[in-house]
């Protein structure tokens, strides 16, 4: 086994000293330095950034697909509330993640400019913001839409903020494999919001995102391994090495390709969807193959960057095809 960059895992307790230093550096006036109190200059856009808007866009899109694909018609306004609640819940878990991970975010180029490590939002403010929005989103979804969907949303927030962020992320290279479940729940929540139940069809949508997560994040981790190593996050390339990570990416891509076709194979989607999903899956395997063939000495890692970009396109495209297929199929039948 080749060894990746050495990592020293960081406990959050040790890094709290960094956060305290960060807080002191934020004091901007003599009075603040004197009293030790920093008054916030955070704007609404800083708080919006805490919600991880780009991740939220993917969550909203997959939740919409789950909700629309469900074989039950929902009042459009209730559907809008469901999607809004899921989006806010996902954003709240992002804020809690940014609160807890501020110490390691400050050490990575990709995350150093986030509101908490950059000092625009105080850690305590991010925590309260995340907790309030979590409660609000779950209660709204439960009271106005469906309590099963609300329970799944609450579990998703807990899973992402506590199981993934606080436990798995700094402990095991399987962090994003298990933690990927948090990102896979939204279509299932959308489905539950419409039907009040969970079916095999929604489980398949869950499985597509769940199996997509490892190759997506490991492609990123390959070309950002120095960042993760500096922060002490045990991502797969840092622990098992680049060669092992490349093999595992390829293995997951070989699994995700047929799973993407399952809705057509099981009769939930048309042949058109099946052909589209199969083509996207072949593309995924091809990009993963390029990553597998990447040289150990490759510092630029173009294939890994290409796979990372393609994986985002893949997920959007496969859910978009599924959405169009469902809507068109329903229109033709009705």
């Amino acid at each position: 086994m080749d060894s990746g960059p050495p990592i020293r895992r960081r406990s959050r307790t040790k890094n709290n000293k960094n956060l305290e230093a960060l807080g002191m550096a934020l004091a901007t006036t003599d009075r603040e330095i004197e009293t030790g109190i920093h008054l916030s200059e955070a704007t609404p856009s800083d708080y919006f950034a805490l919600l991880k808007p780009r991740v939220m866009a993917l969550v909203v899109f997959t939740a919409v697909v789950g909700l629309v694909a469900a074989p039950v018609s929902v009042n459009p306004f209730i559907a809008l509330i469901a999607i809004l609640s899921i989006a806010v819940g996902a954003g709240a878990s992002g804020a809690l993640n940014m609160w807890y991970d501020a110490d390691i975010d400050a050490l990575m180029s990709r995350t150093a400019t986030r509101p908490v490590p950059s000092g625009r939002v105080q850690p305590g403010e991010a925590l309260v913001f995340g907790l309030v929005l979590s409660a609000l989103s779950v209660m709204t979804l439960g009271v106005l839409v469906d309590w099963l969907a609300a329970s799944l949303l609450a579990f998703t927030i807990f899973f992402y903020a506590v199981v993934y962020t606080m436990w798995l992320k700094r402990w095991t290279p399987q962090n994003i494999v298990i933690g990927g479940a948090a990102g896979a729940f939204p279509p299932m929540i959308g489905w539950a919001a419409a039907t009040g139940s969970v079916s095999l069809e929604s489980v398949i949508l869950f499985a597509i995102i769940f199996l997509w997560t490892p190759p997506h994040f490991w492609a990123l981790a390959l070309f950002k391994s120095a960042d993760y190593g500096r922060a002490g996050v045990p991502m797969m390339p840092n622990v098992a090495g680049n060669a092992s990570t490349r093999r595992q990416i390829f293995a997951y891509s070989v699994i995700i390709a047929p799973v993407g076709v399952l809705p057509a194979a099981l009769g939930y989607a048309s042949l058109g969807y099946g052909i589209g999903a199969a083509a996207l899956g072949v593309g995924f395997v091809w990009y993963a193959w390029q990553v597998l063939r990447m040289s150990d000495d490759d510092q630029v890692m173009k294939p890994a960057k290409a796979l990372f970009a393609y994986s985002i396109l893949y997920l959007f495209a496969i859910f978009a095809i599924y959405l169009v297929d469902t809507v068109v199929g329903r229109a033709m039948a009705g």
Binding site: R31, S40, A42, I78
Partner: protein, 53 residues
């Protein structure tokens, strides 16, 4: 009153940020009220408005 009792004077940037946060919270709360009102009508239907006097 001693110097320490005067409290903290906000800088113009802090005042501006606080005002924009307050406006955002007000808009958020107003939207929440409207959302619950319309959702109540949507769930129970217009019949909820016609009550026996």
């Amino acid at each position: 009153m001693s110097e320490d009792d005067k409290g903290i004077t906000l800088t113009p940037a802090q005042k501006k940020a606080r005002r924009s946060r307050n406006v955002a919270i007000a808009i958020g709360l107003a939207l929440l009220v409207v959302m619950f009102y319309v959702a109540t009508i949507a769930k129970f239907g217009p019949a909820i408005l016609s009550r026996p006097l």
